[in-house]
Symmetry: none
Subunit: 214 residues, 4 copies
Amino acid sequence: MREKRQKRQSGNGDFTRNRVFEVAAEVFHRKGYDNTSMSDVASAAGLTKAGLYHHISSKESLLYTVLDYGLDLTEAYVIRPLAGISDPLERLETMIDLHLRLVLEERNLEVTGLLHECRTLSASDRSRINRRKKEYVRMAAGIIADVTKKYNVKDVDPKLAAYALLGMLNWTYQWYKTSGSSTREEIVRTFQRIFLQGILGSAWVDRQANATAH
Amino acid sequence: MREKRQKRQSGNGDFTRNRVFEVAAEVFHRKGYDNTSMSDVASAAGLTKAGLYHHISSKESLLYTVLDYGLDLTEAYVIRPLAGISDPLERLETMIDLHLRLVLEERNLEVTGLLHECRTLSASDRSRINRRKKEYVRMAAGIIADVTKKYNVKDVDPKLAAYALLGMLNWTYQWYKTSGSSTREEIVRTFQRIFLQGILGSAWVDRQANATAH
Amino acid sequence: MREKRQKRQSGNGDFTRNRVFEVAAEVFHRKGYDNTSMSDVASAAGLTKAGLYHHISSKESLLYTVLDYGLDLTEAYVIRPLAGISDPLERLETMIDLHLRLVLEERNLEVTGLLHECRTLSASDRSRINRRKKEYVRMAAGIIADVTKKYNVKDVDPKLAAYALLGMLNWTYQWYKTSGSSTREEIVRTFQRIFLQGILGSAWVDRQANATAH
Amino acid sequence: MREKRQKRQSGNGDFTRNRVFEVAAEVFHRKGYDNTSMSDVASAAGLTKAGLYHHISSKESLLYTVLDYGLDLTEAYVIRPLAGISDPLERLETMIDLHLRLVLEERNLEVTGLLHECRTLSASDRSRINRRKKEYVRMAAGIIADVTKKYNVKDVDPKLAAYALLGMLNWTYQWYKTSGSSTREEIVRTFQRIFLQGILGSAWVDRQANATAH
DNA sequence: TATGAATGAGGGTTCATTCAT
DNA sequence: TATGAATGAACCCTCATTCAT
């Protein structure tokens, strides 16, 4: 998606270019966007400052690309795989799993922590990123609505619930450490349980009881 | 629109100083710490840059004070009131209420959004702030542990649950708008329900049924 | 001498004022004039910055006063006592003694090290200080001329010799330490010998031989 | 008047860098280190402030380089040439000649006047400079010791005598003017005479008598 | 592609000085 | 006398960006 970049002939051009984005994501996340200088990015990428500018046009465009790339990953790792799942509850469970997998293991944690740097973008870039962010919220709210409808839960606002869920999932970038005490699987299980039982109540309890019974 | 400078009297010193902190919290939140210049803070406080330095010693110390003050507010608005509540479930419900009240209405939203700027602080300041943040997580985990013990829930790790809760609560700074469609009360009710039913399951359902019956 | 300052009635006004000068001389010497802030001077004198300005009119005037005071000391400790000595050789010996006594013990070392800060003074202040410095060189050259004339030494330019002597004497501020290995008396004796024998040659040798013989 | 900017070629880097050091030495000497702004240095070097920082890393490091370079010059112009001279007296005479030649003509005067700015350096830089300064004093004292031993002079402390000599030589930066009344040769002759006759007494007188006789 | 050199703009901070109280 | 607060100017330094080579 997003065919902004034309094909180039030189062999490793795209290779270098992509390394720049990955490196930039990492450095932006580690030091903060404003606190990262183009020198930092350049030397982390093994380039000189002037060399860096052969691959990008400005610091801001680099941020845009990094954020956009992060959302591309979300699309590839979370949104598209969900399309194949028809049962609403299973989709929701899977979404929690995939989202955490992406954030905690695919280095996308970095991008999550950068999402609020949108502020810095130009108006048009910002609105493009925001549109994609909102799409994701809308998708989550949609899945939740399907689940509550199926299980006949009435008093849950899907949008608010989606915000609650995304808060749980994204806040992990504030505390998760690879070397910490909880594995990703534990986190996934716990969060699935809290959120699903949270919106479904006894319906979920019953389901789990059945599942275990089998 | 804040008159420029009223007649000065002795004792005004602390007044101005406190105004600086409040203004700084607001500006740091709005523009981001790194992207805020001391000129920005100064003029928002109705001072010149040099005048600002009469009240603080450095930009970094200003950030520290703002964060520390935010945590003071948390202590005053959330932690201390909870001390008077003995029933674990009621404490947890109240904590969610007070925390959201603080974040969404007492202008502490600003500080919440700044918490990850810790990075910028000196090592000693950073560790002081981190200690207080961890204490809060510990407190939340403690309350959750009390609740699960009382209701005989076995398979919830209190620390992970606390992170889930704080994610839900704090992420609000990313999406909440005073002018938005949800009132604070709705959010409180929804989040209480999702989280409490999430960890307690049928125990919570039963309790709510009873409460409604009365 | 220099009646710039009028008499004041308030009891300890002059006391404080003089302390300011002494303290300023010390601080200027220790940190360098440009590197000393008025805050430094004020707090070293036990005053606030604004309080300091009740005693002086500007930083530059403070430097002028300090330098001028140092030259007053030279007049009092070196120049005037020499007036009573009629034998040229004895005057020269005594001048070396008194000058080193002043520089090394009367805290005037500080002023000596400041003499080249003249640069900073206003044109008129600078020329006043320079006039006094030149007077001192002229006096030294005069004494040297008397000595060489008396002992019939022909090939010594008194002015150049005076510069050599003042170099020896004043450079001490670069290396002398109260706790060092040489006492002031040793320095005086060595420098007297080097300079006097240096300009007089055998005449000085003979004289010393006689002196010892008696 | 130094053309603004000639065509640039590779290799010009070191050229510009060295010009920066020379210019800085001159400006620091003329205005004093603290009183010299980086703008002053930059524009004296035909650069902008930011451009200047391509060649140096800080004002302090620039001072260090200037001082270190001055000591390099001393090594090249004074210390090394002396190594080839075996007769102690001739070495001392030559040292006076070369030192004054360096200070008065090779523009090193500037550095001499800066030596006491050491204060500003970082601890490690300062100690490196001080070590070199002490080495020079030690060398001078060594030469003096050789001379007095050869001529059987007993009562001269070589270290004190070295300080006296260096005072004479270095103080020149306070009064020497190219346009003044004394030529460098006169100064050299006078100072050689005063110092050598000063430490050797009749031994030197005799030697000079012989030299003249031939 | 890649780079060393350069720069205008702006950053945080300090300073000598003033003034109402 | 004394002071806390305030300020304009200046300082050192960094940054994103450009350009000749």
